[in-house]
Symmetry: C2
Subunit: 118 residues, 2 copies
DNA sequence: ATAATATACCTAGTTGTCCTATGTATTTAT
DNA sequence: ATAAATACATAGGACAACTAGGTATATTAT
């Protein structure tokens, strides 16, 4: 039943917004494209579900970190392009440093050093 | 309102069980001790809430990754010591490799290389 | 003495993210 | 003709994390 036991995908929780924000910061992208790009760049590791990505995009837009613009394609298959905002860039920078802090903390714990404060 | 915006503690989500499992694997510990040790080792970064840790411990015990034994102290303040099981050790090893895979994937995405598969 | 803090356990209820499943609609490949 | 890919969307359920409360003893500060 529990599929996620061995995949380790739960680690993704909490990093979704950062990853998406980062990708969009490189160049404006639409949802479906983000899913494909993330999968390609990570060599198959990240396979975002639509039920994960689209709510995340709406979340990011609602908090003003990204904004969007529809591109009307010939036919009915339109695309919604997302662009990072100035606020989003500030937040992304913040998230980068948070990520570094997190890694440092993890390494401190895993470090087989003294557990005594000095 | 949203306090967690700047703390970056959401990154912890998904790594709680691994951290706890790792700590216990070093030596048997009781809940309160785990909270304090994690805080000390991480130099203040990890400050697990009781509402986070105790359910996590019960979760790990229910899935057979750890087991517990009460230590009766003189007075009424007893301690419940947790020990990693064989199954827990296997799972911990798995989680280590998942963590490595996750870091690799993240770095692949953040790498400013070609996004073309080769 | 007494109040506050630290130690030590616990859980019910809320919140929020992620996934499943489903829906709509067009285009391309078989 | 039919399946798969492209492209968007959301309702519902599962589950982890936190808030906030509870119980009880020991220690430290006032």
């Amino acid at each position: 039943m529990r599929l996620n036991m061995t995949t380790g995908r739960d680690l993704v929780k909490g990093s979704t917004d950062s990853l998406v924000l980062y990708l969009i910061s490189e160049k404006p992208m639409y949802g479906y494209q983000i899913i494909k790009e993330l999968e390609k760049k990570s060599q198959g590791y990240f396979k975002f579900k639509e039920g994960t990505l689209y709510p995340a995009l709406h979340r990011l837009e609602n908090t003003g970190l990204i904004d969007s613009q529809w591109e009307i394609l010939p036919g009915g298959r339109n695309r919604r392009y997302y662009r990072i905002t100035t606020k989003g860039q500030r937040t992304l920078a913040e998230k980068r440093s948070q990520w570094r802090d997190f890694l440092v903390a993890i390494n401190l714990v895993l470090q087989p050093g003294t557990s005594d404060a000095r």
